[in-house]
């Protein structure tokens, strides 16, 4: 009868070991759409799907798995691989260990500095924060208020003008206090602000941080890669933190940032409170990316 005929036709189609061009195209289109909705950069989505298409055409479908699930598995594995495989650590490899936080205006650097400071303090380290943002009104106040009562040192200069000098004095103060981990909070900036990008390079050269964290807003769209590249050129990025993952955004912009800096994503921000910090897990990030 007709129902049985259709059912077996579909079964044949799904379990066919020979790649069906149309089915593959439909699945790939669906994946492209999911990735674009997740803010993965358009050119990455294109090159990624070309790569996947090529691989699925040359591969026989394993038994007992639909074409769609097969492709999804390839995509999932490939994305997890691009993100470094498993969770990575931010190792405090020497003392004092100096971390510099950089990123575009409003991405959550100051809040993330406080979160990270708390994270290390909870792990038993002696922690200090140096605020070298001389532009944002009440930037020092903000860091102090966030870190109040947590036994974390905060250094900043109320009417400071020169971020490099403040950084140097701050680091000196921190070493006097025998601090193990120092986190330097910098002013927000973007790639079109030549003067500020130059300043970032000066800060990098003067501080010589052990680790530079690029703080990326998960809601960012197609600009993530270009902006990350500009930061990477003036202060080599060691790792990435994806903030505001507690929004409707899936943070696909981070893939472009990873792509241009070669840096792993180590942390995500999941809210405005000090505790809203999690270690980045590539597998759950990719599942969320693929919707």
């Amino acid at each position: 009868n007709l129902a049985q005929g259709i059912r077996s036709a579909i079964a044949r189609l799904i379990s066919s070991p020979v790649p069906d061009r149309q089915t593959i195209e439909e699945v790939i289109r669906g994946i492209q759409r999911a990735l674009l909705l997740a803010d993965v950069r358009a050119d990455l989505v294109k090159s990624f799907s070309d790569n996947i298409r090529e691989r699925t055409f040359n591969v026989e479908l394993p038994r007992g798995i639909s074409r769609r699930d097969h492709i999804l598995k390839i995509v999932y594995d490939e994305l997890v691989r691009l993100l470094g495989g498993e969770r990575k650590e931010l190792r405090v490899s020497r003392t004092p260990f100096v971390i510099m936080m950089v990123g575009i205006q409003g991405t959550g650097k100051t809040t993330s500095t406080a979160k990270l400071a708390n994270y290390f303090a909870k792990s038993g380290y002696r922690v200090g924060v140096v605020v070298v943002d001389v532009y944002r009104p009440a930037a020092l106040h903000q860091a102090r208020q966030l870190l109040e009562g947590r036994g974390i040192f905060v250094y900043g200069e109320e009417d400071g003008q020169d971020p490099v000098q403040i950084a140097k004095r701050g680091l000196k103060y921190m070493s006097e206090q025998k601090v193990d981990v120092v986190i330097v909070d910098t002013a927000g900036r973007h790639k079109e602000q030549q003067g500020l990008m130059l300043e970032m390079n000066e800060l990098y050269e003067a501080i010589r941080p052990d680790s530079v964290g690029l703080i990326v807003d998960a809601t960012i769209g197609q600009q993530a890669g270009q902006q990350a590249e500009a930061f990477h050129r003036v202060s080599p990025v060691g790792w990435i933190m994806l903030t505001k993952m507690d929004t409707s955004a899936r943070g696909g912009g981070a893939l472009a940032a990873v792509n241009v800096t070669g840096a792993p994503i180590l942390f995500i921000g999941t809210g405005e409170k000090i505790e809203d910090l999690e270690r980045f897990d590539p597998k759950s990030y990719v599942s969320r990316l693929l919707g």
């Binding site: 790639k191 809601t219 197609q222 600009q223």
Partner: protein, 283 residues
Amino acid sequence: RQLSDEEIDEVIEEFKWQLVSNDVALLAAEGLASEIKEKLSMVKVPLFGNRGEVLKPIFREALSSVLLETDEEQFISKVRAAGHDTEPFKLLFVGPNGGGKTTTVVKVAKRLKREGIPSLIACSDTFRAAAIEQLKRLAETIGVRTVSQKYGSDPAAVAIDAVNSARSNRIPLVLIDTAGRTEVDTNLLEEMRKIKRVVSPDTVIFVGDVLTGNAMVEQATKFNEYVGVDYAILTKLDADVRGGATVSLCFAVKRPILFLGVGQGLDDIVSFKKSEFIHRLLS
């Protein structure tokens, strides 16, 4: 000759990719693409050579009908006229975390002050660290007074406090800065709805970040759902952005863009001219 079905799909795909790579949210790009599908099926392209001449105007028209400008003069006159009542004109600013609300509130206050309209600013972000200090310091630089209470106090109460103070001091305008919030935090969305209910502002302005990708659709939709957005201001246009988020926002909530933030200085605010945007989005 007319375009074949295959060609139409091809043109639509091209249009979508062009928009998406210029930061337009996928849902907005898809929506616009389906809107031009009909036009594409009726258009005549040259038998040989460049069909771009015929297609470009269709793309431009699609963007022109979705993007909404505001007549700045008209807006300012409306605020100035309201200032002659005994009741202060109230502008409520809302938006996602770090989008530029606080800086924008002071930019708008400065812009209106230049037009001869004095104002009072309510520090209704009673949550975020140093939010009150940040706003006070910014407002100080342009000689505009602020009204605040302590951290943890009711944002609506601070706003009412400011309105009362404006009324008794005959200040015609109150701008209310609120805390950043996400489109998925129902508690904070409810808090925002309550602020609106208690204060009943004359105008609600959504301040968003133009660097935002697909989240812009959900952000604008949810904020509009909870408090009704009258105007939007998008910030950080100076970060070399194609400005696709303007399309995403207008597509999602069909509300006009009042201003654009083009820098961190208090003079860095301009009006939105859609023609230059359309040119950039299609180039």
